[in-house]
């Protein structure tokens, strides 16, 4: 019934021209991506690995999947079901075992696509691609059942060790498991190369193969053997034997999970409520800035740094949001800034031929561009967080242009300050000197405003709030991709305009005005700055117009 409903929803969207178009684009891009994975892996990867060589790696991969299931189970205790399912099924004359069976079947159906993608990514390394893909699909589906099994056990444990599971010890455990898994993945990806770089000539382990061949590792990986054998089977009898074994284990686990004598209802209500709240927050303001506000700062008098007029008031609420959600804002902001700065430095240091000023300029420009791109995506203290509040915002006695500017001003300031500090700090720490690179932070507010304005104008034009697991995802994927392309196109026009004007002045400056190269460069930068200022002014007006035409009855995203 649910499948029929989802199908109906999808087909209803196809009745309009735009729905058809977006769904076609979504289908095309998803299909294209899968095809690229299949063809690309086949074309560029080396020959399939030998069964005895790939077997421990497959076991290791399965164990990593199982570990991830365990981590997920710790945060989704009991059963996760949408509110409407809980209201109907918990009150309906359906046994708890059957509710679990239904839920696991829904999860298995949803896991099919993910397993197909994983199969497409890895099949070329497996001895027989068909067995590999089928084996991976069956393994991923079994992991889903295992996750549900763990979730129920956690729910049962939660009733007994509630204080422990809610406290910091659980958070600490999750961090330890997360770091452990991340370390293993890094080891697989970088292996000895990374360790060799860090620790020089000290020999730790010869690589993944040697680590996996260790008797302790083999003992730990032993439970994953049937699934690994199924994936790496070399012929039909071997595959069928192991597939039957895995299927039997999977079905047995399915039935055992369904029949577990654990009353999960209370825990399921709590889990579903928590996940629904989280999804609502994600829909409102993204993964990080949509988080819960801290009540510790409610007693603080936060200064009105953007003025005491109506526009200052609009900016003030955003500024307060940033402070009250500082944990998410600052942690993610700093992580991005540090990550981008270190990454850019690491990347440029590989190129030994680059001069000191060259590295300063290229590095600062890269930090500015990549930083703006990531921070504007992560810190959503703008209209993307206010869609549910548009009914009130539109009634404010402030012109739409001022509301637009007041909303964007605080986040533009925050991003500019963060990136400006990172650029200057990097230049100072590395002892790099270049006057142009040192001026880049001054242009950051204009650049950030341009990017955020374009982002918000497109968002107000067609608000798309896609949340993973949402119905009609094909339609949303297509629409979201078209809008991303539109944003990129608009931004390319903005930067192109600035670049052309600055380049023109730089090229004709020496000839027509008799300027030296240095003077021409400064003049071209000043010209670029002015053009960017004009573009920002245009975007400010366009943003106001877009906000004015926003129809709360239609544009609900």
């Amino acid at each position: 019934m649910k499948f029929r409903g989802a199908l109906r929803r999808q087909t209803r969207k196809l009745k309009t021209l735009s729905g058809c178009l977006f769904a076609a684009i979504g289908l095309l891009l998803t299909g294209g991506w899968l095809a690229t994975l299949l063809i690309g892996r086949r074309a560029f990867e080396s020959e399939p690995m030998a069964p005895e060589e790939i077997l421990p790696i497959a076991q290791f991969g399965i164990c990593v999947l199982a570990c991830l299931s365990l981590i997920t189970a710790a945060s989704v205790r009991g059963v996760y079901m949408p509110q409407q399912d809980i209201e109907r099924l918990f009150a309906a004359p359906v046994s708890r075992a059957n509710i679990l069976r239904y839920r696991m079947l829904v999860d298995l159906g949803r896991g099919l696509f993910g397993s197909l993608v994983l199969g497409a990514v890895t099949f070329s390394r497996l001895p027989k691609p068909l067995f590999g893909v089928l084996g991976i699909m069956l393994t991923v589906l079994s992991t889903g059942i295992l996750r549900q099994f763990f979730s129920l056990l956690m729910a049962s444990a939660g009733n007994r060790f509630d204080r422990f599971l809610r406290g910091r010890s659980m958070l600490f455990m999750r961090i330890v498991v997360g770091v452990g898994v991340w370390g293993l993945v890094m080891f697989v990806v970088m292996g000895e190369k990374l360790l060799g770089k860090i620790f020089g000539s000290v020999h730790f382990v010869g690589g993944l193969e040697e680590l996996l061949a260790h008797p302790v590792s083999q003992g730990l990986l032993a439970p994953a053997l049937p699934w690994a054998r199924m994936m790496t089977a070399g012929n039909w009898p071997e595959f069928l034997t192991w597939a039957a074994t895995c299927l039997f284990i999977g079905l047995a686990l399915f039935e055992v999970t369904a029949r577990l004598r654990i009353d999960y209802r209370e825990m399921a209500l709590e889990t579903s409520d928590r996940i629904a709240t989280r999804l609502r927050q994600v829909r409102r303001g993204g993964l990080f800035s949509g988080g819960k506000a801290s009540s510790r700062t409610t007693g603080w008098r936060l200064p009105k740094i953007f003025g005491r007029g109506p526009m200052g008031a609009v900016a003030w609420i955003k500024w307060v949001s940033m402070i009250r959600k500082a944990r998410g804002t600052l942690i993610i902001g700093l992580l991005i800034v540090v990550g981008v700065s270190v990454g850019v430095t690491f990347l440029l240091r590989q190129d030994q031929g680059m001069s000191n000023p060259g590295e300063a300029l290229v590095g600062s420009s890269l930090i500015a561009m990549v930083g703006i791109l990531y921070l504007c995506g992560a810190l959503r203290f703008d209209f993307r967080a206010d869609l549910d509040r548009m009914v009130q915002i539109k009634a404010w006695p402030v012109s739409s242009r001022r509301v637009f500017l007041g909303t964007l001003l605080p986040v533009v300031t925050l991003i500019s300050v963060m990136l400006g500090a990172a650029i200057w700090l990097r230049l100072a720490l590395l002892g790099l000197h270049d006057p142009v690179a040192e001026v880049i932070p001054l242009v950051l507010p204009l650049l950030t405003f341009a990017w955020l304005a374009v982002e918000n104008i497109v968002y107000l034009f067609a608000p798309v709030r896609y949340v993973p697991g949402q119905e009609g995802s094909l339609h949303h994927t297509g629409r979201a991709i078209v809008l991303v392309l539109l944003r990129l196109l608009l931004m390319a026009v903005v930067l192109g305009l600035v670049g052309i004007c600055a380049g023109l002045v730089y090229n004709i400056g020496p000839e027509y005005f008799g300027l030296g190269e240095q003077e021409a460069m400064w003049l071209s930068m000043a010209c670029g700055f002015d053009v960017l200022l004009l573009v920002d002014y245009g975007l400010y007006h366009a943003g106001g117009r877009m906000l004015k035409r926003f129809d709360v009855a239609r544009d609900q995203g």
């Binding site: 009105k304 109506p310 609420i317 307060v320 949001s321 402030v398 239609r554």
Partner: protein, 293 residues
């Protein structure tokens, strides 16, 4: 002419204090003519308002006036166009056809001035989850350019029993508390016109009593109030005039007494009977304030 914020006095005062002033509010028993003398000038004027969504007409050529001190109850079945009408009047929805004047300001040509005279309580208020209750009032006061708002804010918080919650974040409030906060925010600027969409939803009996008293008080202090609700008892109790809409069209505009006489044919029918009768048929009955039957 700009609408001066906080021009009216005594909104935060109790009903008793307000009614001490020599003021003659219309009662159900009053007939036309008496009302026109007692009520002030027209503060909200809607002319030929229409709103379409593709092929569907949500509001069709709607006109009405609301005077200072008057409470207009907007009624209609589900999907009649009540919320669309209110949202268009407060400028949340763009005006497609028609004109709206608030305190003499044209809503399109003098948008900011018109909106300064308005307050809006939506059906499901969404406070900012990072602002405290008190900061919501501070923000609204700054937004509407209200000075010396603190004493008034305290009065409102006391009236709506939010004093203990003054430092609670918007995201921590229950549905009823959010509704009370929306009342406080709309009252703080002492507007000329207040529009409320289902104002009592989510409120407990004590909250309902406080809200009713506050609505009466705000009208008594000279504001023009528009309430849209499905609660016929509320409208019957509070409204001076009724505007009944069906399928986007006005089917009745007049006082309850007029409705009883013209639509029910007697003087005792309850609003429920009148409502059911009116919404079954589409005859338009528009009885302006200054016209006697």
């Amino acid at each position: 002419m700009e609408c001066p914020a906080g021009f009216r006095k005594g909104i935060g005062a109790s009903v008793d204090e307000i009614t001490e002033e020599p003021r003659d509010l219309p009662q159900d028993s009053d007939l036309m003519g008496v009302e026109s003398e007692a009520l002030g000038q027209v503060q909200l004027s809607v002319r030929g308002l229409s709103k379409r969504y593709q092929d569907m007409v949500a509001v069709d050529d709607l006109s009405f006036d609301v005077r200072a001190g008057e409470i207009l109850g907007v009624l209609g079945p589900n999907g009649a166009g009540k919320t669309t009408t209110l949202r268009s009047v407060v400028g949340v929805l763009p005006l497609q056809e028609g004109e709206v004047f608030v305190g003499g300001h044209h809503l399109v040509n003098e948008e900011v001035e018109a909106k300064k005279c308005l307050a809006w309580v939506p059906d499901d208020p969404t406070p900012f989850d990072t602002l405290t209750v008190y900061e919501h009032l501070e923000f609204t006061a700054q937004l509407y350019g209200v000075v010396d708002w603190q004493a008034h804010a305290e009065e409102l918080l006391t009236r709506f029993e939010l004093t203990e919650k003054r430092d609670a974040l918007g995201g921590e409030l229950s549905r009823g508390m959010r509704q009370k906060l929306a009342f406080c925010c709309s009252w703080i600027s002492q507007p000329l016109v207040i529009l409320m969409d289902e104002p009592l939803s989510g409120l407990d009996p004590r909250g309902i009593r406080a809200a009713k008293d506050a609505i009466r008080a705000v009208a008594a202090s000279g504001a023009a109030v528009v309430i849209s609700s499905h609660l016929l008892e509320l409208i019957e109790e509070l409204a001076d005039r009724l505007l009944i809409i069906n399928r986007g069209r006005k089917v009745f505009n007049g006082t309850l007494s007029e409705a009883r006489r013209t639509l029910a044919g007697d003087g005792d029918s309850r609003l429920e009977e009148i409502f059911l009768r009116v919404t079954e048929q589409d005859n338009v009955l528009d009885l302006p304030l200054d016209r006697e039957l």
